[in-house]
């Protein structure tokens, strides 16, 4: 494994934790997260469902406030938004056209019309949506809608991109296509990405570094480097033995946590039945 030259940290988590107050008392979703995510890297967090990985991302997005610790996002340019998120599931507005959806961030910060036309036009082109610029979301398939969401985030030109299981609702074929497209667009911009997923395959396919999280409460279990060179081709990569070995290795880390999460769910269900 060749060590990458140390890049400055773009996203810093320092002692980040989140506790929710629920009826049965405090619920620790995540705790003790310390992370330095290098500028221009693709960082993936993988963990069992309910491990607080989405909470972690929402805190980075500023949609939740951490109970402890701080999250810092390095700002290279003051006129740029700090982050843009690609949400899980259908997040594009059904009452706006594809173009208006993709232009949303730029419009919100009053970008000049010429810039909006250029930038949005570019990303609609990159996501293969140019023909559908005037279409409404209900005319699009799930994969197309998620492409709009990708175009919207990239067009906003943020310091960092946050992605919350963006492909989890898609079928296997669409998922593979979109992973490949995402990699292609990302490799052109090299923006820092924080990507959440429960899929080990997806993590290894996309990431430079992967953090495996423990089951509830979510903590860091391991950080794993992904040594594969870029640009990556999804299918070729998956055919390599090293890919399978890495997936197997990460699964080994994750397995106990998934089982623990399952046991926790079973206990909760039992408690609810009683």
């Amino acid at each position: 494994m060749i060590a990458a030259p140390a890049a400055p940290a773009k996203i810093c988590f320092e002692g980040v934790g989140k506790t929710f107050e629920i009826r049965s008392g405090p619920f620790v979703a995540v705790e003790g997260i310390n992370l330095d995510i290098a500028a221009g890297s693709f960082f993936v967090i993988v963990g069992p469902s309910g491990c607080g990985k989405t909470t972690l991302l929402r805190m980075a997005a500023g949609l939740e406030t951490p109970t402890t610790g701080t999250i810092t996002i390095g700002r290279a340019r003051a006129d740029r938004p700090g982050n843009s998120m690609i949400f899980q599931g259908d997040s594009i507005f059904p009452w706006m056209t594809v173009f208006d959806n993709a232009a949303y961030g730029l419009r919100m910060r009053n970008a000049p019309k010429s810039e909006i036309d250029d930038v949005v036009g570019h990303y609609l082109d990159r996501t293969g949506l140019t023909k559908f610029a005037k279409a409404y979301p209900h005319q699009l398939s799930g994969g197309m809608k998620q492409r709009v969401s990708i175009a919207r985030a990239f067009a906003n030109d943020p310091e960092v991109l946050l992605m919350d299981e963006p492909f989890s609702a898609l079928d296997e074929q669409n998922k593979t296509l979109l992973q490949e497209e995402l990699l292609r667009i990302w490799e052109e911009t090299k923006k820092t990405v924080l990507f959440i997923t429960h899929s080990v395959d997806e993590a290894v396919t996309l990431g430079d570094k992967i953090m495996v999280m423990t089951a509830q409460p979510g903590r860091e279990k391991a950080i794993i480097d992904v040594p594969f060179p870029r640009p990556r081709k999804v299918l070729e990569l998956r055919a390599e033995p090293a890919y399978g070995e890495l997936v197997y290795h990460i699964w080994g880390q994750l397995r106990d946590e998934v089982l623990a999460a399952k046991a926790g769910e079973a206990a909760d269900a039992e408690g609810a039945l009683r």
Partner: protein, 283 residues
């Protein structure tokens, strides 16, 4: 409680990665089916009129209460010629329109604010739900007392009728907007004003239009009642006055005219809805 219902838009599962446009052939056949159904819709009323005419001409029914359609039609013609019908219709429409604006605009603003801000909702909701069950017609004497017999009392009656369905539907409309859309707004830098104009208003629009249609119907009922009691003009007045001078034909003309106004309102509001909510156009 004003509760949110299921989101109005449901999203189909992941199909093949292609755009789904309606084929032209299917929309053409739908069009011809629509027009044939529309024709069939005319059969029943025309049949009824013919039957009515026959029964009236043969005096099987009492023409004092059910004058023949042909004689109603001739009264209709007279009232058009002497300008009474037009004048009364126009003044009713004016009251309806002004009352509509006076009721719908505050209802929209209050409804959107209640939907977006929980504390506002907690504060205002009991007030609205507490006064909602009062029959609007029962407030008329109070309104006449406060606003007098002039134009304002009629306009206010319509406004009250329009206000409730619009405000209640607007709140429900905002509450059914998936929370994710609000997250998107915050994440992409929408300010308070943007949250209203780009998310709450368009997201709640299908519900708002339902409220507006209900409100228009209620407004029409209330303008008729208000004009019967406290006015010297308008369709309601025309009907009431016809009763007092026992001009049954004029009464029927007034009823037909109100029905036509109601029908026109529905058509216009449906067209506005189609224009404002393009995403639902080809449902």
């Amino acid at each position: 409680m004003i509760t949110s219902t299921e989101p109005a838009t449901t999203v189909a599962g992941d199909g093949p990665d292609a755009i789904i446009f309606k084929g032209t052939s299917s929309s053409k056949s739908r069009l011809s089916r629509d027009s044939s159904e529309r024709l069939m819709g005319l059969v029943a009323p025309i049949g009824l009129f013919v039957l009515w005419e026959l029964l009236a001409d043969t005096h099987i029914i009492d023409t004092r209460f059910f004058p023949a359609p042909s004689s109603i039609a001739s009264t209709f013609g007279t009232l058009i010629q002497n300008g009474q019908l037009l004048a009364n219709t126009l003044i009713s429409l004016e009251r309806l329109f002004l009352g509509f604006l006076l009721g719908a605009i505050p209802a929209l603003v209050i409804g959107l604010t209640m939907g977006l801000y929980r504390p506002v909702r907690a504060l205002v909701e009991p007030l609205i739900l507490g006064t909602y069950p009062i029959p609007k017609s029962a407030i008329l004497p109070l309104i006449l007392l406060i606003f007098g017999l002039g134009e304002p009392s009629k306009v206010v009656m319509v406004a009250i009728g329009v206000f409730y369905p619009v405000v209640i539907n607007t709140v429900s409309g905002v509450l059914q907007i998936p929370k994710m859309y609000l997250d998107v707004g915050h994440n992409f830098g929408a300010n308070r004003w943007n949250m209203f104009t780009t998310i709450a208003l368009p997201g709640a629009l299908p519900f708002i239009m339902t409220g507006i249609k209900l409100g228009a119907g209620l407004g029409l009922i209330l303008i008729a009642i208000a004009e019967m009691i406290g006015a010297q003009s308008g369709l309601g007045y025309m009907i009431w006055n016809a009763w007092q001078i026992l001009s049954v034909n004029t009464m029927y003309v007034g009823l037909i005219m109100i029905a036509l106004v109601g029908f026109a309102l529905t058509v216009i509001l449906n067209e506005i809805e189609r224009f404002l909510i393009p995403a639902r156009q080809d449902r």
